[in-house]
């Protein structure tokens, strides 16, 4: 579908239909895509491969680029799908059922009287104020490293990729109730870790 072309004299750079420039992709977007992938999967080699695959897929499907989004946004869209496919493949080969019992215990956070072991402190500022704070995201990334594999993937797909929970369950091969328990565990772990490493840091 061709974008509407206006009078070339009044066309601003933004309105000019966008063209893909694959010969510049590695230079312009290589590191960006790489870091995007590393924010979602741990393995550096896998992340590199995904970036490569994304670029190649981009060249192959050049025609499907409508020009409505930027080059980068379009490439990220391709990369996102590849990340999810990689995760799906991982759990097809090694079913999550083995990991679930290991990872599902939330008992570590609660003492025998069933109160939280570590009393939560009040946070300043509210986390919503920290979206632009680099230190906060650094602390978050470190805290996420601590999550066990399946828990981390469940969290990433839900909160970072904003996937629908039914789709996540089928991607990971787990039941709905397992998923909610894992997500709970992820949130407890991150809450405590962020408290210790960011909000209450010395």
């Amino acid at each position: 579908m061709l974008p509407l072309l206006r009078n070339p004299m009044t066309q601003t750079p933004e309105q000019t239909p966008r063209k893909l420039k694959p010969e510049l992709w590695v230079k312009n977007y290589g590191n960006y895509l790489y870091n995007y992938a590393l924010g979602r999967i741990k393995n550096h080699t896998e992340a590199e491969n995904l970036v490569q695959e994304t670029f190649l897929a981009g060249v192959k499907s050049k025609e499907s680029f409508s020009g409505k989004s930027t080059e980068r946004t379009w490439l990220i869209g391709i990369l996102k799908h590849k990340i999810i496919d990689l995760i799906r493949k991982k759990y097809r080969e090694k079913p999550a059922s083995e990991l679930i019992t290991e990872e599902q215990t939330i008992n570590d956070f609660f003492d025998h009287t069933v109160h939280l072991k570590n009393k939560p402190k009040n946070w300043t500022p509210d986390p919503e104020q920290l979206v632009n704070n680099k230190e906060f995201w650094q602390a978050f990334a470190q805290c996420r490293e601590k999550l066990p594999t399946l828990t981390a993937d469940a969290f990433t797909l839900k909160e970072i990729e904003q996937m629908d929970s039914k789709e996540i369950c089928s991607t990971l091969g787990i039941s709905s109730s397992n998923f909610w328990v894992l997500l709970h565990r992820a949130r407890l772990s991150l809450r405590e870790c962020l408290e210790n490493n960011y909000f209450e840091r010395k």
Binding site: P22, Y36, H112, T113, A141, E161, V181, R187, R191
Partner: protein, 98 residues
Amino acid sequence: MNLRKLIMTVLLMIDCKEASQLLSDQLDNPLPFFKKFLLNFHLALCKACAIVAKQFEGLKKTFTQASDREDILFNNQEKCLSEECCQKMEERIKELIR
């Protein structure tokens, strides 16, 4: 065991572990009436869980906002692809373009 804690647990009908799971669940799905009632009752009496409730909500908002933004990479380091890797990629792209 602390008597006060024991009384609190009995009165609260659900314990902090259950409350915590409900707090997490309600971020994504509205709770059925009775569970919501039990949770709110617990939160009214349990300061720790009331703090956790606020923090869970705050973090949820933070992640939702961040996931819409391309400039937030959820990564704590700015890594670079190796020269070698970049060259390899550029070659493969060139091959495909031809």
